[in-house]
């Protein structure tokens, strides 16, 4: 589904290369994790894939179902099925959570040539999805992420994912700032969304999230490259020995 090949990217304003040849492939139905020390380029990978401003791709490619992601605008990538759960979900004052999500969903549907959902149809959909994630009606009415706790923000990201039904979900450090209970709730939400035609790329610094979201494949990233790929046991190795050991082994 997602193919990244020899991806090189640098900051637009600075001459600083961050991604130095990332290659990986996530087939449909699988959950892959990217682990790595701070500054290794994990979050940059998610930004470059989703089309955030400020980065320049200098080499390589990234495709979703064979379509060139890097040529698309961010909203086109979203409509094509790419979803990024943000490490720091953004607050939008004055805009109701429901209004926001309905506008987004209908924008995607329109772009794909599908019929837009009416207010009533959308209400039904979001109630159903919200219930499964333990999100009460009050949270739906509040402005997007404004005054939400850390856990609420992350749950809201998962709710958006559930409603938008993307093909390729990238979770950028979703566990950061969460206590164990909140993390379990978020992980349950993600697990409920696992499906044969959907894939996940879970970016995390720690192994603990992967206790709850079991990955099929784990990639270790360092200095802008994937340096090692393996099964779930690789995450445990990191947990026990730290990155330093592992990296010296690779080097």
């Amino acid at each position: 589904m997602l193919k990244i090949n020899n991806l090189h990217a640098k900051l637009e304003d600075e001459d600083k290369q961050i991604l130095k040849g990332v290659s990986l492939e996530v087939p449909a139905g699988e959950v892959h994790a990217i682990m790595g020390p701070n500054g290794s380029g994990k979050s940059t990978t998610s930004y470059v894939l989703s089309g955030r401003d400020g980065y320049e791709v200098t080499d390589g490619s990234a495709t979703l179902y064979g379509e060139d992601l890097l040529e698309m605008e961010p909203e086109e990538r979203a409509a094509a099925g790419l979803f990024l759960a943000f490490q720091y979900p953004v607050e939008i004052p004055g805009v109701g959570n429901m209004t926001f999500l309905r506008t987004a969903l209908n924008a995607q549907r329109k772009r794909r040539g599908e019929e837009e959902l009416s207010a009533a149809e959308f209400l039904k959909l979001i109630r159903e999805k919200g219930k499964a994630l333990n999100i009460d009606a009050d949270m739906l009415k509040r402005p997007v992420n404004v005054g939400f706790s850390g856990g609420e923000k992350k749950r809201n990201e998962i709710l958006q994912m559930a409603v938008l039904e993307p093909k390729m979900c990238i979770l950028d450090e979703t566990d950061s700032g969460l206590d164990v209970d909140a993390m379990r709730l978020v992980a349950d939400g993600v697990n409920a969304l696992r499906a044969p035609d959907r894939a996940f790329l879970v970016i995390t610094h720690y192994q603990r999230l992967l206790d709850h979201i079991r990955p099929d494949v784990v990639h270790i990233m360092s200095d802008g490259k994937i340096v090692k790929t393996g099964g779930p046991e690789l995450a445990l190795e990191v947990e026990q020995n730290g990155y330093a050991d592992l990296l010296s082994e690779v080097a």
């Binding site: 961010p74 909203e75 990538r77 990024l84 953004v90 004055g94 987004a104 924008a107 995607q108």
Partner: protein, 506 residues
């Protein structure tokens, strides 16, 4: 749509696509109505003032009132303190009176009105005709299918075209008619209140208006009456090189209530047009008036040519105890806006509120705000102003809060926020605060922010394109003000906010 011809169309491009593109980001109300007009000669003189008065069939006292204002006006200087830049206006190069020929003999009812005029209003989305039929049903309880009624007074260039629901309003004792009719039919009310809030000597533009105002709306709500429906006036400038000078007078007698809406549009012209209106509101004991404006005059083209120069004086006088007034305005149009809807809080415990969104794009300039003059004890005022600038526009909030020595225990809260879209526009806040007693309190908060890149990216990652994303963010920013608008207006205003920002990003 005329706009299509302005677009270069490559061969093979789908016509529907072209139309969609042509309609996007263009001013929706820019078409004009081809109708035979009758003009007074260009320029301003005592003779023109007399002519306007005569055309309206006014009594002598009114003619004299106008002439006095005119004589005053010729001695006055155009104010220059506002943060506005525009070429000098040649006041002698304007028509001061224009009316559709068909209105020469005043129609007795809407049935006699030129269908072309009615069609104009219909095109603007104002269902005059439907309501006229309803209003024509003698004694019938005339509720339209959707259950909500709004009485409309429509002003086309210099004259009022017609007013709906008059009979039903009359039953409640409410007088809602054009001001020219009020001068003829209700002289005692007009003489008592006209100029009592905005005196003819008030300022350059108000004085000009006092001399040459041609028409406008008049409202009187008798004591204890809650007006049974919302009242509204739609102003349309159609004729070229014609100034529009309407005058609105609203009187809410003791214990009464009325909600009043005002909408404005004008055709696209590449020369600027002058609009100098005066609105006076008198609020007596325990009465309440809500006045909402959606101002969508033609803003000029992307290069700053043409557009309406809008110099408006609006003031409400809470003349007696516990009177309340609330101004809500959504300003998206006009090339130049100079407008400060104000509240004189004379009665003890009276209250004034001002909610405003001013959106400027391209080369638009707005200098707008309010004045809260606290004269009575325990008076309260609240100001919420949101300025949004895009393109090369300049947006200034200018507000005065004045607490007089006798206005003890009074309170004001002011919040003005500015949002900048792009880096070539400007936002300015100029608050004036005068507190002349020790027991009153004034709070002022001001913020300026830019549409945040993180917010934009978040919206786009969820599937919205850049313009949709900006519209969502801006609507959120403007929400406090949009919420103060009556239902239908809130919807209209929300889509206006999106329209006037189209093409402002990227």
């Amino acid at each position: 749509m005329n706009d299509i011809t302005d677009l270069e169309v490559r061969e093979g491009v789908d016509r529907e696509t072209v139309e969609t593109v042509a309609n996007m980001g263009s001013y929706k109300y820019g078409w004009d109505t081809e109708i035979e007009m009758e003009y007074a000669p260009k320029g301003l003189s005592e003779d023109i003032v007399r002519l306007i008065s005569e055309k309206n069939g006014e009594p002598e006292w009114m003619t004299d009132w106008r002439l006095k204002a005119y004589r005053r006006w010729v001695t006055m200087q155009e104010p220059s303190w506002a943060m506005l830049n525009y070429p000098e206006i040649d006041f002698q190069d304007q028509y001061y009176y224009a009316r559709p020929k068909s209105m020469e003999a005043k129609p007795k009812s809407l049935d006699e009105v030129d269908p072309k005029l009615l069609a104009t209003y219909e095109k603007l989305g104002i269902p005059l005709k439907e309501q006229m039929i309803l209003a024509g049903v003698e004694g019938a309880d005339a509720a339209p299918a959707d259950g909500r009624k709004v009485a409309v007074d429509a002003v086309f260039d210099s004259v009022s075209v017609g007013t709906t629901f008059k009979d039903e309003l009359a039953k409640a004792g409410v007088i809602f008619c054009s001001i020219s009719e009020a001068i003829r039919e209700h002289p005692e009310l007009v003489q008592k209140y006209l100029g009592s809030v905005v005196p003819p000597t008030d300022n350059f533009y108000a004085t000009l208006n006092s001399a040459v105002f041609s028409d406008g709306s008049f409202v009187y709500i008798p004591p204890g009456v809650t007006c049974p429906m919302e009242l509204s006036t739609y102003f349309r400038i159609n004729a070229e090189n014609t100034g529009q000078f309407e005058r609105t007078l609203i009187i809410a007698d003791k214990g009464s209530y009325v909600s009043y809406l005002e909408g404005c549009t004008a055709p696209k012209r590449d020369t600027a047009q002058l609009h100098a209106a005066v609105v006076e509101i008198v609020v007596l004991e325990d009465a309440e008036v809500k006045y909402s404006t959606v101002q969508n005059w033609f803003p000029g083209d992307e290069d700053g040519n043409g557009g309406i120069y809008n110099f408006v004086t609006k003031r409400a006088d809470c003349r007696e105890a516990r009177a309340k007034v609330m101004w809500t305005q959504v300003e998206t149009g006009s090339a130049i806006t100079w407008k400060y809807p104000s509240c004189v809080l004379r009665g003890d415990d009276s209250q004034g509120e001002f909610y405003s969104i001013a959106i400027t794009n391209n080369h638009q300039q707005a200098d707008t705000g309010t004045k809260m003059i606290h004269l009575g004890k325990n008076t309260r005022s609240r100001i919420v102003s949101k300025g949004i600038s895009a393109g090369k526009a300049q947006n200034t909030y200018r507000g005065l809060v004045s607490m007089h020595p006798k206005a003890t225990n009074s309170r004001n809260y002011t919040q003005c926020d500015s949002l900048l879209i792009g880096d070539k526009c400007g936002a300015h806040t100029v608050p004036y605060i005068e507190v002349k007693n020790a027991s009153s309190r004034v709070e002022h908060e001001a913020t300026t922010s830019k549409v945040d890149d993180d917010q934009l990216f978040y919206c786009r990652q969820r599937g919205m394109d850049e313009e949709e994303a900006v519209a969502v963010i801006v609507n959120g920013f403007a929400k406090e003000v949009l919420q103060a608008l009556p239902m239908e207006f809130a919807m209209e205003a929300q889509s206006l906010v999106a329209i006037s920002l189209e093409g402002s990003v990227g």
